[in-house]
């Protein structure tokens, strides 16, 4: 039997609810039971039980309908590219610091999202430098957050 997207989603939610209950069962109350306190496990377990019930409700009400696709194939490719770029940006920031990584990834993000717009290299470079510098000034100087310098330069 082939499951549709709504059914898969509901089943995954049920499994997630089960996982939360399992994890919550391991928690120990730090108070004596005589205090009447329900302890740290009661609330998440109650929420997870409700989650499972609602997921069953979703399965019953929406399960037979095929879900509307959120994006086209091209759309999912775009999602993948954006998350990949952002993840690489974070890795780069940890290694080479804020300034270098932002100078590199700002233009890459613009290019990734340019659609059919023509981008002049000069504008792109100028935009990246201005964005990097303005944010540096705002966060480092005004808000006084020391932005990452990068593991390589420590």
């Amino acid at each position: 039997m082939k499951l549709n997207k709504n059914q898969v989603f509901s089943i995954l939610l049920i499994l997630f609810g089960g996982f939360v209950i399992y994890e919550a069962m391991q928690l120990q109350s730090l108070f004596a039971p005589a205090s009447g306190d329900v302890g740290p496990r009661f609330f998440p377990i109650a929420a997870a039980v409700c989650l499972i019930l609602c997921a069953v409700g979703k399965l019953v009400t929406e399960g037979k309908k095929e879900a509307k696709p959120l994006f086209t194939g091209e759309g999912w490719k775009r999602v993948g590219i954006m998350f990949l770029l952002l993840a690489l940006y974070l890795v780069a920031m940890a290694w080479v610091g804020y300034i270098i990584s932002t100078l590199i990834f700002t233009p890459l993000l613009v290019l990734a999202m340019r659609e059919d717009r023509k981008i002049r290299p000069v504008t792109l470079i100028l935009f990246s430098v201005v964005t990097t510098v303005v944010l540096y000034l705002v966060f480092q100087m005004v808000i006084q957050v020391s932005l990452p310098v990068g593991n390589l330069f420590r």
Binding site: N6, F9, L13, V20, A24, L27, Q28, S29, F31, S35, G36, D37, V38, G39, P40, F43, P44, A47, A48, C50, L51, C54, A55, G57, K58, T61, E62, A67, L70, F71, G75, R78, V79, M82, F83, L86, A87, Y89, L90, M93, A94, F105, T106, L109, V110, L111, M113, R114, E115, R117, I119, F127, T132, L135, F139, I143, V145, S146, L147, P148
Partner: protein
């Protein structure tokens, strides 16, 4: 009187005034650009507000809020695409009017209506909040628990779509809020040995991920990022005289109260208010056939009501600490970052802060009026901002903002993970507002539940025997049944070939409530 002087001195210092003007302009831009909204603007600026004092921070965020709701008018009129869900109905008459070469008139009417809606509704909420708060401080943990519970359930059941999806989203929000140290006894929960999770899932990382990263990537993946064509002819002057405008006074009053009431109800905000007011205006008009062709009354109804919803939504937020929609949930988040507990005690403990918030909403409305009036000619430029540059800058701000809150790269990764969570939720049709409400109210729910259970030896009974608590719980349970009644009623109407005006209108644009 003393309070008024204190608030004015605080607000009108040059630096605060500049921050308010900056916030309003930012808000207008976020409201105007389709795909972004006041919520995105507030999420993005939360880390910046962190560095300010609590009063300046709330002035800044409040200014963005007002600007954001009003800014949606610009794109609705000039390109026929609502900048925010709050201005869907504005498109119906604003855009045809602009196409007829009367863009100034459409914008003028919209700007005036926005101003009246915001200004008067905030004044009314200033009267109601202290009254409600006086009652709210008498509430014990039992009532507060039932109130939070009722608010979450109402948000879920009153919004559109399958109720189970809303409940699932709210419960996921509650479960995310369980991560970290538990209230009351301080037990470690679901941290899986990660030290950074001990203080819970960071608010800024979560909000930026769900409301900025996921929103932007979704817009881009859907291809909603092309720069629109705008006809700039017909933008000059105000287009309508005050006398002519106020000849519609009855409609203004009616739309205003529709907006105020809908804004006050949890879960329903400006996004629904404008549709209901428009449908109402059309139904009671002598010339309903002119609606949709560029008719003044359509714009007045939509823009007065969506801004009046601001005052309505602020009442439960300030007096009870219960956010009515996503934007007010963000504002409460902003207060929490400053260590201020938004709850029934907010008005008693921090009256100055509360009145500064009201003050900035009033001043913001005035600034929006002035800025939009004199800046009308610059509107097309805002809308022509190339999305690729705008989005790239916003994403970089998100990363830096997430980093700056906890000064760890962990928070940036958390934001990215939350972006993925946001997309997974969209995949399963789960709305975001119950999620964020569950996340904000989760700790309040749990700590009041546990306090209530330990204060007496009767366990859960006081929740059912105390009258206010019982009424709230009954309202919650009753509203859980409402969608089933509504479904049956709608099915009957559909079978008879009738569909409500609001349902029809909300299908015109694929705009989701955020």
């Amino acid at each position: 009187m003393e309070m008024l002087i204190a608030v004015l001195t605080e607000m009108l210092t040059p630096s605060n005034l500049l921050i308010i003007i900056g916030g309003v302009i930012l808000g207008i831009i976020f409201g105007a650009v389709p795909g972004l909204s006041a919520t995105t603007g507030i999420a993005l600026m939360l880390p910046v507000s962190f560095s300010m004092t609590s009063t300046t921070g709330i002035l800044f965020l409040g200014a963005i809020y007002v600007g954001g709701i009003s800014g949606g008018l610009i794109s609705a009129v000039l390109i026929g695409v609502p900048g925010t869900p709050a201005s869907v109905a504005t498109c119906f008459d604003g855009y045809p009017m602009a196409k007829n070469g009367r863009a100034s008139r459409a914008l003028g009417i919209g700007i005036l209506s926005s101003f009246i809606g915001t200004f008067v509704s905030v004044l009314i909420s200033m009267i109601f909040c202290p009254l409600l708060a006086r009652f709210a401080v008498k509430m014990g943990p039992w009532e507060i628990f039932s109130l939070c519970f009722c608010a979450i359930i109402l948000v879920v059941t009153m919004s559109k779509g399958n109720m189970f999806n809303g409940l699932i989203a709210g419960l996921l929000g509650i479960l995310v809020s369980c991560i970290g140290i538990a209230p009351i006894d301080g037990a470690k929960r679901f941290t899986f040995g990660v030290t950074n999770l001990l203080s819970g899932v960071n608010q800024i990382g979560l909000m930026l991920g769900i409301f900025a990263v996921a929103t932007l990537i979704r817009n881009f993946a859907k291809g909603d990022t092309k720069t629109p064509e705008i006809d700039t002819k017909g933008i000059s002057g105000f287009g309508i005289s005050l006398k002519e405008y106020f000849s519609h006074w009855l409609l203004i009053i009616k739309s205003f109260f529709i907006g105020l009431w809908i804004g006050f109800l949890p879960g329903l905000g400006a996004g629904l208010a404008n549709l209901v007011a428009y449908a109402q205006a059309k139904a009671s008009s002598k010339t309903p056939e002119k609606f949709g062709t560029g008719w003044d009354e359509g714009i007045i109804a939509s823009e007065t009501s969506n801004n009046a919803a601001i005052g309505g939504a602020v009442i439960p937020m300030v007096a009870l600490g219960i956010p009515g929609d996503t934007a007010t949930a963000m504002l409460i988040g902003g207060l929490m970052i400053h260590g201020i507990d938004a709850g029934p005690l907010l008005m008693t403990n921090h009256p100055e802060l509360v009145y500064c918030f009201f003050g900035v909403l009033l001043l913001g409305a005035l600034l929006v009026l002035i800025l939009q009036f004199f800046g009308m000619r610059s509107f097309p430029y805002i809308l022509r901002t190339p999305t690729c540059y705008l989005y790239a800058a916003i994403l970089v701000i998100c990363v830096v903002g997430a980093y700056s809150d906890s000064r760890t790269m962990f928070n940036c990764w958390l934001m990215l993970v939350m972006g993925v969570v946001g997309l997974i939720m969209a995949l399963g049709n789960l709305p975001t507002s119950p999620f964020i409400l569950g996340y904000i109210l989760g700790p309040m729910l749990e700590s009041n539940l546990r306090k209530g259970m330990t204060y007496t030896s009767d366990g859960f009974m006081p929740f059912l025997t105390r009258p206010v608590s019982l009424v709230l719980l009954l309202v919650a349970v009753g509203s859980l049944l409402w969608p089933f009644i509504r479904e049956r009623r709608d099915a009957k109407k559909k079978a008879n070939g009738q569909e409500s005006e609001v349902d029809k209108m909300s299908k015109v644009f694929d705009v989701e409530e955020d």
